[in-house]
């Protein structure tokens, strides 16, 4: 084995790390460890000068291993791997110690935090000694794309890709595409018709020679890896499809307000959701259940949103939709009283604040309530009242307890993740946050990609958003997909399992534990064989193998055991 020459770089992350960890001490101490040639600390390792520092040192000191002690590897591992590659070193000769998310941001005792940082770096140093050069595997990219979900996001992405001449498979669960936009009468703030906007796009998709639409269909499980996925479309007639990329555009599910006692949804006749009001506009008439015209209409904002009992997040579109309804109602029923019962008005989109100002001039009453602690309460009006319902509320701005008359109450329901979000996450191998919206690769720098290469998320499956934001994401993902198709091949991780045939005893334990049926049995040789294309590198077979014949590349026994050793030895020294 060649002499191990490790360079260690301890990042300050401005003051993010340096404030709680004595980075100079860490660097001084770990420099004494065997194998470490040089250790340095620097203000921002991820910056260009920081990366240059590593590159120069690799050349100058003939380093063959690098440890960067900084933020989470989930953030910058790839950045530094690239730096190694630029210096002519194999990118896997790198290990990261997470002393920001796991140390400086979570601890309050500087001495203890510094100690902990040292142990983590020592662990990384010990681990990297056992790293081996791995060759990236180049794979060809199948130019077809699978898009799951035929709402505005899925449709937009499909057209972008298909118009570039590439095949798209669009799988939609419902019996038609168009999603929620097709169910919108008008859209804020320009009052364009949702239906008119999306219908030409629907027609284009349905008739596009490069788009195959599967209606009433679902995707069960996606096999393979970036560039080379395959799946079965579950429909009346099952069909096997192959594709190189996936765009997930599964959309939203409206919040069900029946769980909020104060709002009496489903108990009193003329309490409806915003979607039900939308339907009335599409059908051309806003009426009560008894067919008469409502005189007093209240729109309650933030239903199911921004309240820790339901969803803490803001659904982003309901405020503006409520203003849109106020406008529509004002035109349709000029004699009516319109009450917008709101928590805060969030009018942040282009043209939206102006829309709010305009609406407020149209004889619409705005009443504010406490969204977290004091929801308005709807009750049936008494016989003497000149209305059907009374909304009791503490109006926040005036500080007065008031009673709002209502003949129709519209609940502005928020957005939830789609009911199939979990199934789809499993099928394509992506993660969900606590609210079941999908997690992007990086919230700011890579918001449409996921941690699974070749899988993108667009529209409301990622978080609540309006039409322009959904379309923007869809087009962004389409551009990303087209870029990979254009290059036609891609590098993929090679951290798969590999069998040492000399040690394998042919017991086939690994075959039973592999979740991807990636291991088969070679009867002639009496050994297990890993199909590297199907293997996703979970390492379960490695832990189950009784003889140690299976190595999980980049997570080998030696690497992890050595990391434990390093971590503990430093622990005992200090």
């Amino acid at each position: 084995m060649e002499e191990v020459r490790i360079g260690v770089y301890v990042c300050w992350c401005g003051s993010n790390i340096a404030k709680m960890v004595d980075v100079e001490e860490v660097s001084r101490e770990v420099e004494k460890l065997p194998g470490v040639v040089i250790a340095k600390d620097y203000k921002y390792m991820c910056s260009d000068p920081g990366q240059d520092l590593i590159i120069q040192d690799i050349k100058k000191h003939n380093l063959n291993r690098v440890v960067v002690s900084a933020c989470s590897p989930r953030i910058h591992e790839l950045t530094f791997r690239k730096a190694l590659e630029n210096a002519g070193l194999n990118q896997y000769m790198f290990e990261m110690a997470n002393i920001r998310e796991h140390v400086s941001w979570v601890h309050t005792d500087r001495a203890e935090a510094t100690k902990k940082a040292k142990t983590l770096v020592a662990g990384a140093i010990n681990r990297v000694k056992w790293h081996e050069s791995l060759d990236k595997r180049h794979v060809d990219i199948d130019p077809a794309t699978l898009i799951i979900g035929g709402g505005i996001s899925g449709i937009s992405a499909a057209l972008e890709i298909a118009n570039a001449g590439k095949q798209v498979y669009l799988v939609e669960k419902a019996d038609k595409i168009g999603g929620y936009v097709a169910k919108l009468d008008l859209t804020f703030p320009h009052m364009y018709s949702g239906k008119d906007m999306i219908q030409p796009k629907i027609d284009k998709v349905m008739n596009h020679e490069k788009i195959e639409v599967f209606l009433n269909s679902m995707i069960d499980e996606v096999f393979g890896y970036v560039g080379n996925f395959e799946a079965t479309v579950k429909a009346k007639d099952e069909k096997e499809i192959k594709f190189g990329n996936v765009i997930v555009a599964t959309g939203l599910k409206p919040f069900d307000p029946s769980g909020i006692d104060n709002y009496q949804y489903g108990k009193l006749p003329d309490i409806i959701t915003s979607l039900e009001l939308e339907e009335m506009f599409i059908n051309g008439q806003v009426t009560k259940k008894d067919g008469t015209i409502p005189k007093n209409i209240a729109l309650i904002h933030c239903v199911g949103s921004r309240n820790t009992n339901y969803h803490e997040y803001c659904s982003r579109t309901c405020c503006m939709s409520a203003l849109k309804y106020a406008n529509q109602l004002r035109s349709a029923l000029p004699e009516s009283n319109i009450f917008n019962i709101y928590a805060d008005i969030r009018a942040f989109g282009k043209g939206c604040e102006e829309f709010y100002t305009n609406t407020s001039k149209k004889n619409v009453m705005f009443l504010m309530y406490d969204q977290q602690n004091d929801l308005p309460k709807i009750k049936k009006a008494g016989t003497g009242d000149n209305c059907d319902m009374i909304i009791e509320m503490n109006e926040k701005l005036s500080g007065e307890a008031i009673e709002v008359p209502a003949d129709m109450v519209v609940l502005m329901v928020g957005m939830k993740a789609h009911e199939n979000a979990k199934e789809i996450a499993h099928a394509v191998g992506i993660s969900m946050c606590g609210n079941e919206f999908y997690i992007e690769r990086h919230p700011k720098l890579d918001p449409v990609a996921t941690t699974t290469d070749g899988v993108y998320i667009v529209g409301t499956c990622q978080s609540p958003k309006d039409i322009p934001d959904s379309v923007t994401q869809a087009n962004a993902a389409a551009a990303r997909v087209l870029a990979t198709i254009n290059v036609a091949h891609m590098e993929v991780e090679v951290t798969t399992a590999v069998v040492n045939e000399d040690v394998c005893c042919g017991c086939q334990t690994c075959i039973n534990v592999c979740p991807y049926t990636a291991i088969s049995y070679d009867e002639e040789k009496n050994v297990s064989v890993v199909n590297e294309i199907l293997c996703k590198g979970c390492g379960t077979c490695g832990s189950a193998c009784p003889t140690g014949a299976i190595r999980s590349r980049h997570f080998t026994d030696e690497q992890i055991l050595s990391q434990i050793e390093g971590l503990m030895s430093m622990q005992l020294q200090i």
């Binding site: 989930r74 601890h107 606590g434 992890i560």
Partner: protein, 141 residues
Amino acid sequence: MEFEPTIVSFLCNWCSYTGADLAGTSRMKYAHNVRVIRVMCSGRVEPTFVFKAFREGADGVLICGCHPGDCHYHEGNYKCLRRYHLIKKYLDQMGIEQDRLRLAWISASEGKQFAELADEMTETIKSLGPCKVKNVMETLT
């Protein structure tokens, strides 16, 4: 001086490591005794890793994976769970208190739960005192 235990923890990349990262980005504070080792899946955690940690002087070992049904690799966490019960039995035979090993499910959004878990586990191990295995092994050799 109060006993400060060292707890070696194995976190799966997809849920638990991300959850621990979230505790960091949310600036939640927890005990400094937990040292994290990243694995792709809790199913990768071999019994050897656990024994090695104790052998090297760890006072506790914590394994975290995705919640049942949420494993990025379908069912690696179930395999981990099975092994966990076996390891516990074995620890007992080796004279290591079973409570020194813990398996918990932490999702990518459970930063708070991870911070609480780290505190809880630290308290448990503090009450158990230092693990003597390393010393015993050294006396024996």
